[in-house]
Amino acid sequence: MIPLGEVVELEIPPTMEYLDLARVVVSAAASVDPAFPPSRVSDLRLAVSELCANAIESHQRADNDEPLTIRCDLDDDRVTIEIEDHGGGFDPDALSPMPHATDPSRLERERGLGIPLVRTLADDVEFLVKDDGTTVRVVLFHPNGDGR
């Protein structure tokens, strides 16, 4: 049992085979709080998976086999996840916008859906770019926890 206010920290090697471990640990941690409903756990699970996949890709591009660090912080009104990589930095603003669904070019975009998905699923997403990598902080509030 993880008490509220505690931080769960996980390190994973930068290979895609560890993605489901990250999903399982974060989902289990967030599920501890009964005020955080299964639908939000599903949102969190997908957001973490997308962000870890990006981080792993950045490590692979940088040929860096250091582990990624995933921190899960449970508070009364929110779950905060931080994913810290050493993959050389990432500029989320460099992503080109997604064409509209009715635009024929939309189906040419088989990639690049991940960050827009995360931005929609999470209540707050912050990219902190450092010299050697990126820390992404994602916040999901409990239902009504942010007054909504």
Partner: protein, 116 residues
């Protein structure tokens, strides 16, 4: 390691129905993409993917479905989706792919070409 299972492939009314279970992520999406393209190329280019047993799909998994859709339409066919769970339906809606695919509540609805 995450994995998805191919539970069944059936032929129905000139369509193929592929039933999936488990999780599709970036590690397993290439295998799904190859399988969809294989089914569409070998059989009639009309495929319904039954998602009712799928508990997780990420953006790369969605990309695999889009690959299949493009291949099917290039062959004057279609790829339709059926029975997404609430979360998968939400993800399809966020990405607006529910407008690109015909998504049926059930396999029968997808075969009939209607959402419900």
């Amino acid at each position: 390691m995450s994995r998805y299972e191919e539970v069944a492939v059936e032929d129905r009314d000139g369509w193929r129905v592929l039933r999936l279970a488990g999780e599709v992520d970036v590690a397993t999406a290439p295998r799904l993409r190859d399988r969809l393209v294989q089914l569409i190329t070998e059989g009639p280019p009309r495929l319904v993917v039954d998602l009712s047993g799928l508990t997780f799909i990420d953006s790369m998994g969605l990309g695999a479905l889009v690959s299949g859709l493009k291949r099917a339409r290039a062959l004057d066919g279609d790829l339709r989706l059926a029975g997404p769970t609430d979360h998968v339906a939400k993800v399809l809606s966020i990405t607006r792919l529910d407008k690109a695919f015909l998504v049926g509540d059930t396999v029968e609805a997808a075969l009939a070409g209607s959402p419900g």
